[in-house]
């Protein structure tokens, strides 16, 4: 069975002096109903991967294939309706919703997108309930909601378009810690329920491993380790993955200091794929 999303040998280079090789040859797949967590620190290229998958950034090399066809870059023309099966939830809950339109109207846009593809019509209120908000929220404006609630609205809008592939580009990073796990779980459950695949990008392994089926760890534009989420969490093999895990301070009250990687160390780029 063809996976929903297939990325092969993807390279993305940003122009400049010197040009920046943000993504240096990665392969990944996401199947229907599956959650792939893509983790890494800043500058590793994970956000660039999200944009390349959506067609927001052109690949310098390699292919991005969605449901068997290559993903066309998003230019000035209208997005072809088939590609609206790919939707994204962005990092900043304060920038991803139109500040001057009521929330319901924005979710309704998502619903209309799905209808254009032949799906059933839906009501914004219904989607708001599915993300745990009140139907009445539809009449209100984004600035009336907290960050966590805005993110739920953004999720509702994305899901209203009935995507086959949902991409979360650091969707929980800007939220209060107490809501991060909850919103991540919400995204997983709603995506999987509707049969969509979820590509969840984050720098926070501790939350991602709870909701992901598989994990891929990125470092300097490459995937250095990938495999089942539990396996990687319990038994990381690549030195970078180990360093990443060792550096996370756990809120267990023990006063254990996190371990910094050795000064100036450069981790090997060879991948451990399981």
């Amino acid at each position: 069975m063809t996976p929903l999303l297939e990325v092969t040998g993807l390279e993305v280079v940003y122009r400049g002096r010197p040009p920046v090789r943000a993504v240096d040859g990665i392969d990944l797949t996401v199947g229907a109903g599956e959650v792939l967590g893509l983790v890494g620190e800043s500058g590793c290229g994970k956000s660039t991967v999200a944009r390349a998958v959506c067609g927001l950034v052109p690949p310098a090399a390699g292919t991005v294939t969605f449901e068997g066809s290559p993903v066309a870059p998003l230019g000035l023309r209208r997005r072809p309706v088939e590609l609206t099966r790919i939707q994204m939830v962005f990092q900043d809950p304060y920038g991803s919703l139109h500040p001057r339109r009521p929330v319901g109207a924005q979710i309704a846009d998502g619903g209309r997108t799905a209808v254009r593809r032949g799906a059933e019509a839906s009501e914004p209120g219904w989607w708001l309930e599915r993300v745990g908000l009140d139907r009445g929220a539809a009449r209100r404006y984004p600035h009336e909601f907290s960050g966590g609630k805005r993110q739920r609205i953004a999720i509702a809008r994305a899901l209203a378009a009935r995507p086959d592939l949902l991409i979360g580009d650091e969707p929980i990073s800007a939220l209060d810690a107490s809501t991060q796990a909850i919103v991540a779980a919400l995204m997983r459950d709603l995506a999987v329920e509707s049969g969509a695949g979820l590509l969840f990008i984050s720098h926070d392994l501790t939350v991602v491993r709870l909701i992901a089926d598989r994990l891929a760890v990125m470092y300097r534009g490459r995937i250095v380790e990938s495999g089942p989420a539990d396996t990687i969490w319990e038994d990381p093999q690549h030195p970078y993955t180990r360093a990443l895990l060792a550096a996370v301070p756990l809120p267990d009250g023990s006063g254990t200091m996190p371990e910094p990687p050795v000064d100036g160390v450069e981790f090997p780029l060879e991948a451990v794929l399981r």
């Binding site: 620190e41 800043s42 745990g132 960050g147 209060d176 810690a177 107490s178 809501t179 991060q180 796990a181 909850i182 991540a184 779980a185 919400l186 997983r188 459950d189 720098h203 501790t206 939350v207 709870l210 909701i211 360093a243 990443l244 060792a246 550096a247 996370v248 301070p249 756990l250 809120p251 267990d252 009250g253 023990s254 006063g255 254990t256 200091m257 996190p258 371990e259 910094p260 990687p261 000064d263």
Partner: protein
């Protein structure tokens, strides 16, 4: 020894009551954590100690430092203390350092103004400080500009500037939040080591309970402008007295009693 005592701190900005009576003690050589979510008032507490509140702010209560109430001092007296006896490190190193001055200038200006050192001594002390915060090639670093350093190194420089005049109190407002986790680990070690070496009384303000757990000796939890719990770190994390603290911990993977599986998270959402 109590270096700084905050008693009944109240803060009102316009119509909003930001702080509703905060009590906190900072002890020399110990790190007092101040945790809370956005809007809890933790950052404002730190700013109140430094005297960096917006002009429309109306403050009540006392902040006792030595034998004086900081809130009763004139702006000029406050200014004399700022940077010398009480220092602060901010969250974002890319905006807390002047982008157009060399690191050396930012360090020595500070030193020469407050400690009245001559150029050469200031320079020597600056190199010493950069060594202390573990910046490689400290002498060369003096000539470089902030954008030429990584985020973690910039934060170390900010710490060096803060500690230049050997303050007794350090307010660290989300000092590692903007850093990658691997970089954060190094900076946390630095903060803790320096605090111990210099006998600093540190107020560590952060929403990250993992950081709090690693570094703080004492942890206070704020909600809606009040301190709802304040106790010894291990106690607060393993046997929180206040239900709010318990609920915060329950939603964190990795906390004692925190979520461990997806089902745990789902159970949280229902409640």
């Amino acid at each position: 020894m109590t270096a700084l005592r905050i008693s009944g701190l109240r803060l009102r900005i316009g119509e909003a009551e930001i702080l509703r009576g905060v009590d906190l003690d900072l002890e020399a050589g110990r790190i007092q954590g101040l945790a809370g979510e956005s809007g809890s008032g933790k950052t404002m507490t730190g700013l109140a100690v430094m005297g960096l509140l917006p002009t429309r702010a109306r403050v009540g209560g006392t902040i006792t430092f030595g034998d004086r109430d900081l809130l009763a001092l004139t702006p000029r007296q406050r200014n004399d203390l700022r940077g010398t006896d009480i220092a602060m490190v901010f969250q974002d190193p890319s905006t807390s350092l002047h982008p157009m001055l060399s690191v050396g200038a930012q360090l020595t200006d500070h030193l020469r103004h407050h400690l009245r050192l001559d150029k050469a001594s200031a320079r020597a002390r600056a190199v010493e400080l950069l060594e202390r915060v573990r910046i490689p090639d400290p002498a060369g670093a003096l000539r470089r500009f902030p954008h030429q350093f990584s985020g973690g190194q910039r934060q170390r420089v900010a710490i060096a500037i803060a500690l230049a005049c050997s303050p007794s109190v350090l307010i660290a407002d989300e000092p590692t939040t903007a850093l990658d986790v691997t970089v954060q680990a190094g900076v946390l070690h630095l903060l803790r080591d320096l605090a111990r070496e210099m006998g600093l009384a540190v107020l560590l303000v952060t929403h990250d309970l993992g950081v709090m757990s690693a570094v703080a000796d004492q942890v206070a939890v704020m909600r809606d402008g009040e301190v709802v719990e304040n106790g010894e770190r291990h106690q607060v994390f393993t046997a929180p007295a206040h239900p709010y603290t318990a609920s915060l911990l329950a939603s964190l993977p990795g906390a004692a009693g925190g979520v461990r599986t997806l089902d745990d998270v789902r159970a949280l959402e229902e409640s």
